[in-house]
Amino acid sequence: MQQHRYWLGAGLLALASAGHAAAPSNEELQKQIAALKKAVEALQQQLDQNAQASKAAPAVPAATAVAASDAAGAPATREDLQGVQADLENFKYQVQRDRDTATATSTRALNVGGTIQARAAYSTQNTSTPAATPAGVVNDRNSSFDVPTAILAFTGNLYKDYDEGRNLGYRLSAGASQQTASNNSFLNLLDAYLTYSVLPTIDPATPRLDVAFGQQLLPFGLEVPATEDLKPVILNAQFTTRLGLAQRQIGLIARGDFDPVVDYGYNYRAPLLSYAFGVVNGNGPNTSDNNSAKDWVGRLAFTVPSDYNSWWRQLTVGGSFYRGKANLFVPGSSTLVGTGDRVRYGLDVTYNHEPFGITYEYIQGRDDTPIGTTQANTKVASIKSDSHTATFFYNFGEQFVKGFRAQGRYDDWWPKSYQPFFRYDRFDPNTDKTSDESTVYTAGLNVFFAQTTKFQLNVNYTDDKAKSLSYSDFLAQFQFGF
């Protein structure tokens, strides 16, 4: 090694000195050539030695050889460390610059999300609507493109309890939603509430109790508390809107569970009892209460205790109630005659056993309704309504298998899934009156083709006895979240 360095150095020196000389003699040139020859020979000798050494050693890939020598404890050089340091400094600079110039920040942890639906609809029943202004008139419409839901949501925590998980969180969402009684083009406030976990949430085997204060969905039955992104059917069940349960309400609601069965072998948790109880204004979102009486809502559900791999898995029976007071007016006027009862009871059964599921909800409503023409002659009658909603679905694909979705993958992989379903939805607005019920049969298919995106195809057949109409609707919709 030393020898070849010597000859190479001598050769290079000779060349360098030649560069400064005016004109080397033949003798000098011969000397330089000889020096260079010796340098080349020394290099060739070293190359041969290396080749012989590598033949003697076992054949291993180059990368392995390098790593093996690293692993053998070859020390890093100052240049190596400087390289790493430079990379680190570059990274720190880039992170700081991106944070300063291209990063959205918030005071507390924030998760921004949203749900959007884009829909095409065709109906065999034409719709005509008179209106006071030309913009409101609908003239024999049988098809339309719509964006029925567009929601922007912010969620996060205000205090994170690392020790026991008694976190203080929030949710704020705004947009247009089927579950909001608004049809304007403004963003309406949907959810706006604070949540606090009263009981620790670290251990899945312990019971939970969360309280939520603010504007939120009601914990009533199955369909009412389901958020827009979770519903299999495009249109809500009739009772949710006709009994006013779909509206978000402002108030305080506690939700919790008791005696959970935890099957760690499948990462499955199913509480024996889950409950909710709360008090709300009762007159919908984004407004103060219109009387001093508060409405009460509650739900109790029992889930059959079972392991995950059991036919009893996720068989739940629940009961719900809603009791409140509504202002009563002389029909057709704003003359107040007092307050009347607004009562809802619900019974529901769920058997959600991947790959299929069945849900059934029975709802009964009782509304005090004024009848009369003046304050003096107005009487209050109690009108009973009821509803039956049943859904059957079957899943092809892995969309709903939680553990399967959480896979390590390089690409934007997501299990494609297909969910055909059928729903029966009957609502009778007055059980004392005959032939006024409305029944909607829906056959549909949901195609989940990306993590938060699905395509929905629904065919509704509506038999509206009150209007003596029967017609079909064809709805196609993309729903996507972010």
């Binding site: 890939p61 093996a68 499948y266 553990g403 896979q407 055909p420 056959a443």
Partner: protein, 353 residues
């Protein structure tokens, strides 16, 4: 309208029956791996199956038959694989002892066909800066356990030896990645780790207070669903042939560096595996044999899991194991005697060749 609904009903009935109609050679072999690499990458280290997957050896074996191979790496480890198996989404699973005991005891129909790892040490580690010297010093403190996995059973063995129980600690269910993050932020007071502890030790984040011995060994295997095994025994045999061939390569000490390099693609560095395997041979820890020692381990594991109420049902271990594919693979590849057969006590019955 009635016609439309009849059509919809017929389409639904067809769709429901489609799975039942399917038969013949499988179009796809679905393999579940109860592990992910660092950052959720679909590469795992520490086992032969990781090498088999990285090299695409199963794909190569079945390419000529036009059979697709699908690998599923579960972040939720064994419990997630059980969930997938219960929903009939997998044919083969690489899994640890604990999760498969739970699965089998709760009715999942499977057969253990080849062993993967045994005698793997565990490392009980704490955040740096504390004074804990042994697991006894963690009593009453927050201890991370990935429940439902082989790690939980490994920890149960440690508890059992010392007369401890989970209730003596504030055990918190955490997956591997979360445990690594939590020990760095000192949100936990201790946890059980594998070779992945060494990068944390090197960074000054964690300190190992106890290394478990072979008697507490982490054990894993490959199993196949009973349905698949009954329907496609030839495919199962070819699958085992591939695994055993690679297992022989892994067990050859001259390949030690290459094996660790291959495993390091999972994100756990070469040096971590090197230290984890110090003083032990690859052939010993990566033996495919379903020998007396392996049977005994599962019988002991079942007894311990029942004692700690980690599983409820019973299991006939003899019925659960199906060694015929392994025997055939060893015979075909002239590997009989390549690995030392161990007796119940873990001592060699016959020395390895």
């Amino acid at each position: 309208m009635k016609t439309l609904f009849r059509f919809a009903a017929a389409a639904l009935a067809f769709a429901l029956g489609a799975d039942a109609i399917a038969a013949g050679a499988p179009k796809v072999i679905r393999i579940g791996v109860s592990q992910v690499g660092t950052g959720n990458r679909p590469v795992v280290g520490g086992s032969t199956i990781g090498v088999v997957a990285s090299r695409g050896e199963i794909e190569e074996e079945f390419r000529k038959d036009g059979i697709k191979v699908e690998w599923n790496y579960f972040k939720g480890a064994g419990p997630a694989a059980n969930e997938a198996l219960a929903n009939k989404l997998l044919d083969f699973i690489f899994q640890g002892d604990m999760a498969s005991l739970v699965g089998r005891s709760s009715g999942l129909k499977s057969k253990i066909i080849v062993a993967q790892t045994r005698n793997g040490p565990g490392y009980i580690a704490v955040p740096t800066g504390g004074n804990e010297q042994s697991i006894d010093d963690l009593k009453g403190k927050k201890l991370a356990v990935f429940k439902g996995t082989a790690g939980q059973l490994q920890l149960a063995r440690v508890f059992d030896q010392k007369g401890l129980a989970e209730r003596d600690f504030r055990t918190i269910n955490m997956d591997t990645a979360t445990t690594q993050a939590a020990i760095a932020t000192k949100d936990i007071d201790g946890g059980l780790f594998g070779a992945d502890i060494f990068p944390l030790v090197d960074r000054g984040i964690a300190r190992v207070i106890q290394k478990t011995g072979p008697e507490f060994g982490l054990t894993s295997h490959v199993l196949v669903t009973e349905d698949f095994e009954k329907q496609y025994p030839e495919i199962v045999q070819r699958f085992v042939n591939v695994v055993v061939k690679t297992q022989a390569w892994v067990g050859d000490e001259k390949n030690r560096d290459q094996v660790f390099q291959q495993w390091a693609k999972s994100g756990t560095p070469y040096s971590a595996f090197k230290r984890d395997y110090e003083g032990t041979s690859l052939k010993e820890r990566q033996s495919p044999l379903l020998d007396e020692n392996f049977y005994a381990h599962y019988r002991d594991s079942l007894a311990l899991a029942k004692k700690f109420k980690l599983v409820r049902g019973d299991i006939d271990i003899d019925q659960w194991f199906e060694p015929k594919y392994l025997k055939q693979a060893l015979k075909e590849q002239k590997l009989e005697g390549y690995w030392a057969e161990l007796n119940v006590a873990g001592k060699p019955k016959l020395a390895a060749k």
